[in-house]
Point group: C2
Chain length 373, copies 2
């Protein structure tokens, strides 16, 4: 019988860990005492089993559960519900890893373009990819389009909306996406470039669909979505309908402490179809450690057949002077996202963006030369 394996880290006295692990198994499967189970088959086939308990440190344990796949069929909401629905309400536990049966991979499908598809769309080979963001919130479509044109002429591979830009009165979605797409297309035509624009989609699935149609009609080649804000099920539904467009996942509302970032932003967003996943690199404005960031990148792009790899996009307060450090950390299969620090150059934005593009290209060339030696 098919099982999912979920690993949790939790705090507990050593004397109580066996009972706590068993309680966790009940919470994440039948959510009631064993004596309330009227049918023996449910004990065998439905109740989660404690597969392993490993001591991590005094009072800290890893518990691995075998969850019955039949309780969590491949629907994204029900999957996360059975993995962490109720246990998320306990404040000393984190969900840190999941292993899925092979048939889930086919059922969810993973990235459509993946790293290879993104590279091909951007014409970016043998080097890391570059990205920037349209900010600040509050600019009108024409001003955002000006910024996008400047960034595209500098050769940035991907330009995304700031994730706070939605469908506000000062920058309505349709007008913004149309103006920005046109500016990027003109820049691409002028220099023979391949810059992609990813408008930020938000709202209910109805809203997401309307916005996807508008983005496609405007010629946008990608979309940005925050799966934890729109809901995992809506995210996956959108991925299925976004054929031909690159889907970039944003980490908003993904929290820091309760679902391990490598699992949530790496594995799970990849499983559901993100072609690229944005996350805060260590040493910026957020709290992820360097080790967490590397694990996240590994989860996003390590071999996981038949799923395509998902491109890691470290971000969150990066600047051009950190490019060598970032590439030393992640290698070339990465997209570097620098937003605010480029935009702070104001009138010199084009030069600053070109410097960013050149730094990444040079590192890639040096890397290739080194490999050919």
């Amino acid at each position: 019988m098919s099982r999912l394996y979920a690993t949790y880290h939790l705090s507990c006295d050593a004397a109580a860990i066996a009972a706590r692990a068993q309680a966790l198994a009940l919470e994440q499967s039948i959510e009631c005492p064993l004596e309330a189970v009227p049918e023996p088959a449910i004990l065998d086939e439905i109740v989660a089993r404690v597969d392993d308990i490993t001591k991590l440190a005094p009072g800290r344990f890893a518990v691995r559960l075998a969850l019955a796949a039949v309780t969590a069929p491949p629907e994204p909401g029900q999957l996360i519900n059975m993995l962490f629905g109720n246990s998320s309400l306990q404040d000393d536990i984190a969900l840190v890893d999941v292993e899925w049966p092979q048939d889930y991979l086919a059922a969810f499908g993973g990235p459509r373009l993946g790293i290879a598809g993104l590279r091909q769309r951007c014409g970016a080979h043998g080097r890391a990819l570059t990205a920037s963001a349209l900010k600040p919130q509050g600019l009108a479509p024409a001003a955002l389009a000006d910024l996008a044109g400047t960034l595209a002429r500098s050769g940035i591979d991907l330009i995304k909306d700031d994730h706070g830009i939605a469908d506000q009165a000062y920058s309505p979605f349709a007008a913004r996406v149309s103006a920005v797409s046109r500016a990027v297309a003109e820049a691409n035509a002028a220099r023979g470039g391949h810059t992609l624009y990813a408008p930020n989609l938000s709202g209910s699935l109805d809203d997401l669909r309307r916005q996807l149609d508008l983005a496609r009609a405007a010629g946008a080649a990608a979309v940005l979505v925050a799966p934890m804000i729109v809901g995992l099920a809506s995210f996956h539904a959108l991925v299925r309908e976004a054929e031909g467009l690159a889907v970039i996942a944003h980490p908003a509302l993904a929290g820091a402490a309760r679902i391990a970032p490598p699992l949530l932003l790496g594995k799970l967003f990849r499983l559901l179809g993100a072609d690229a996943t944005v996350f805060p690199h260590s040493g910026g404005r957020f709290g992820y450690s360097a080790a967490t960031c590397r694990q996240l990148a590994d989860a996003a792009r390590a071999p996981w057949p038949p799923l395509q790899p998902c491109l890691p996009v470290p971000a969150g307060g990066m600047s051009v002077d950190r490019v060598p450090e970032l590439l030393a950390c992640y290698g070339e299969d990465v997209m570097l996202l620098i937003g605010g620090s480029l935009l702070s150059a104001r009138d010199r934005l084009g030069a600053a963006a070109a410097q960013f593009v050149a730094a990444v290209a040079e590192h890639g060339a040096a890397h290739q030369a080194h490999n050919e030696d």
Copy 2:
């Protein structure tokens, strides 16, 4: 200009709190340095302002931000994005309270039935309401319908699916909802009762709509939805389409530590239209303190014109012997939810449920007599 007021608790050195609060204001509005802002109007009208900083304890502060309403129009996803999207990625900060401008209340709408409507539907006046859950996961529709019939004949006001019961092979949604609804209707007809059945809806908005149609066709009088799993925008879209049905919010995936439970499960779910909100009572299987539970109940049902009050539903490992304590804590405007401990009675389920119903009725009668003295 209209502003939302959001209060965060965070850890910070006293010497650095002013700068940290200002960084938080930028993170939750323009998400870039002030020097990247090209238009003075954005500084006045878009950038969040630090409205207040209060020391809570050494190294612990409350920061109140005034966020520009125009950045977060009344769309549930964008609202939570601007309140806590990026800051959720910092692990020392929690969102603890929000004050909305009056026009948001009308735009979101709040509960349709509210406490008065639920009481009227259940014919429950002058006492607390009772609820139980259909478990365990793994039972077929006929077995779940048997349980529901027994609970309804005992006079339980609301019977809900276990939140882990979705659309699994062993209990497909359509077959289950049809069988359970019929059993509840027969019990209601036999005893002149008014028990409501709330099937659990899950999946994408498409799935939710299909399930809502099936629930309505089967005669179900309520629905159970986990807003943090389906996404706040899908939850609100569903509320708008569920006219005539009571909407019960489930806390799955709502976490414990990063958005204060009284804000998320009390205020926000109420604002978006939950008629009742389920949450773990202290002393059960989860970590909420008694004070948190009381604040949550207050947030759900305190006067907040023009919004109707939302019925608090403490749950999570309760038993009949705790009824007096629960009612002493919450008063009569509450629905007590006891699931697993009733179901553990197995063949004596009907008697155990009747004892639960009687305990709540007696407390209500004593309360009324006391008030009439």
